[in-house]
Amino acid sequence: MEPLSTVEIIIQTIIRFWPTWTAIGLTIFGCYFIREKMGVVGRLYGSTVGMWGAVLVLFWIFTAIFADLIAVQPALEQSFAPGMKKSAPGTGFMKDLEDGTQVAVYYLWGGDNLARDLFSRVVYGSQVVLIIAPAATLIAYMVGSTLGLPAGYYLGWIDTLMSFLANLVLAFPVILLFYLLVTPEVNEVKLIPIGPINLPWSLPIGMAAFFFLFPIIFLCTMWYTKYEKNPQRLATYIGVTLVVGLWLYSGLAFNSDPLGIVGMAPNELNVFAAVILGSSPGVFRIVRGLTMDIKTRDYVAAAQTRGERPWYIMLWEILPNARGPLIVDFCLRIGYTTILLGTLGFFGLGLSPESPDWGSMINHGRAFVRLSSTVHLSLFPAIALMTLVLGLNLLADGLREESLKD
């Protein structure tokens, strides 16, 4: 079969992403009418840089959502036609279908060293990255806030201790930390019998179990401080948080969800725990700094005079007023987490080797990067990762500029 020309590859690639284009168009068009109600996000329409960032981020979000529609074939499917290994972009072959007919399939961005479609792998890779990076950042935020708020509010020995621990993690070379945490030998899961069940245990599981506690503690404290005087509502909120939280907790941390719906492969859990550990101290620092700043404001003094409890002041007075810088930092930090994930993949420490996440793909492809006919193996995932991080950074920059205008 005749390979596609460069122009045809570009046109076909653009056509394949049609669900993404439609969704981006609808979102931007739709949000334009409610931009007044969207606060600082709505004002992004006035900033070119922020708009470009939003488009790039939306592009990857919608690609992840519609991956099944966009991808040509499953991420792990190999082609057994001759010449498809490391094939150049635009190479095609006749694929046998189950009913005996044949259909022409083109590898728009070429094939990798196992003759899998790079285009489909990059598209499915966006799912992996866009689930793990924001989720890990969110949990890191809960950990960082739960520890940073009291450190900045009380100062004293709590602050000294917490800052020491945060600096400890920050002083640790990230890669060495990852190497030590993510080696398979360390992560052999042991079963510890506790009463009726066997509790799976390993170092990353322990870390994850520790980190995943924070969202539950965070939410429960939030509800308790707000609805202390309203027992009925308090009971509902805490009840729902505990039921949902502990259900997710058992599934995610110990992979022993009683219903068997939520679960995480041991590899994913290692990466998840390592990334949270790597980014929590940064969150801790920024939350602590903001708390120390906002603590001196009049409305905090007013709340103190009213006799509010310290945790109410921290969670319902200080935290909401720190949201501007925190939203900007959140955007930046998702980008940073994406880079960390890629770093893990680059050293082969990340998810399972066949996983289509971009870091692992770059790692597999970099052996072939010095030959000009096989550069596409690592080039396309590298560009994908860069555009996502660029989008997040531009978005953060736009948000910062817009929020400074107040």
Partner: protein, 311 residues
């Protein structure tokens, strides 16, 4: 000032002891010891043989006793013997640090002046087209981690154009070999420093004394060079110093990618083979670098900025 430095040194020492303790704990986890035994002995050792080997090599002694012994030896300058490199650890670390030092020197030579020029140019006229395009450029460069820029540069300059080499050798330092790794590392850090410099420069340019200087009739050029620049460079100084820890991660990626056998490469080798003494020495050195740069940045900041006086 002296008390301040002493207190910082105290914290530094506590951090170092705590970190090496954690590393010591991690490399001595049963799984890692088993791997070590198997790479040293043979891959098909039974569990009993592994136990016997660990017993013989002294890994079965109490944990704290071994840590104390290691700490004592290290403080006396003896860091043990590397099982991977088959040389004393101090020799390996010294040699590899030297190679990385050469690389870092060139990275700094490219990154710092480049970033400062970009930042000052962008910050001196806030909101101009030059400012906007340079700012977007800096954001782009901070969005591309080393393993992305490294790949893209190799593809453009080595694979397609064939101008430069995609491999850096420790033996011959030529432009052909060194440009790609240095560029790869410098670009990622440059954007960040440039943005800090821009912010600082933009702030200085709005201050009263700059307006006075302009109203006195000085031309824009000499206002920027003589009056604004010095004050604008205080903030980036701390940022540049704090870039060192991050450079450490960059070094590991770039040295792995370009197969340059320096400190970062040694780290990967040691971590892959669980070379306990080597890993401990590496974390020791890394932590010293990180904490020392933090200390220098604090002292330097206080020294450069007359408004800050450390009590």
């Amino acid at each position: 000032m002296l008390m301040f430095i002493l207190r910082r040194l105290g914290t530094m020492f506590a951090t170092m002891v705590a970190l090496t303790f954690i590393v010591f704990y991690l490399v001595n986890l049963p799984g890692n010891l088993e791997k070590l035994a198997k790479t040293e002995g043979n891959m098909r050792m039974t569990d009993e043989q592994v136990e016997a080997w660990l017993e013989k090599e002294g890994f079965k002694r109490p944990f704290l006793a071994r840590y104390g012994e290691w700490l004592g030896n290290t403080l006396q300058g003896d860091m043990g013997y590397s099982r991977v490199f088959r040389k004393p650890v101090a020799d390996v670390v010294g040699q590899r640090l030297g190679y990385t030092g050469i690389l870092m020197f060139w990275v700094m030579m490219v990154m710092v002046p480049g970033a400062l020029i970009v930042g000052v140019l962008a910050g001196m006229r806030e909101g101009s087209i030059l400012d906007r395009s340079l700012s977007v450029g800096s954001i782009t460069s901070t969005s591309a981690p080393e393993y992305v820029t490294g790949i893209i540069f190799t593809v453009i300059f080595a694979s397609s154009l064939g101008l430069l080499k995609g491999i850096a050798s420790t033996r011959s330092i030529t432009i052909e070999n060194f440009t790609l790794p240095v560029m790869t590392m410098a670009i990622y850090g440059m954007g960040y420093i440039a943005r800090m410099t821009r912010a600082s420069m933009a702030e200085v340019m709005t201050s009263q004394y700059i307006r006075t200087a302009r109203l006195k009739g000085l031309n824009f050029r000499s206002v920027v060079l003589k009056h604004a620049l010095r004050n604008a460079l205080i903030a980036p100084f701390t940022v540049i110093m704090l870039q060192f820890p991050w450079l450490l991660t960059g070094v590991v990626i770039v040295e792995t990618m370009f197969n340059y056998k320096g400190f970062g490469w040694a780290l990967v080798q040691a971590a892959g083979n669980n070379d306990i003494n080597m890993l401990l020495a590496i974390s020791w050195v890394a932590v010293i670098v990180v904490l020392a740069t933090q200390l220098i940045s604090d002292i330097g900041y206080a020294y450069l900025n007359p408004r800050i006086r450390v009590k």
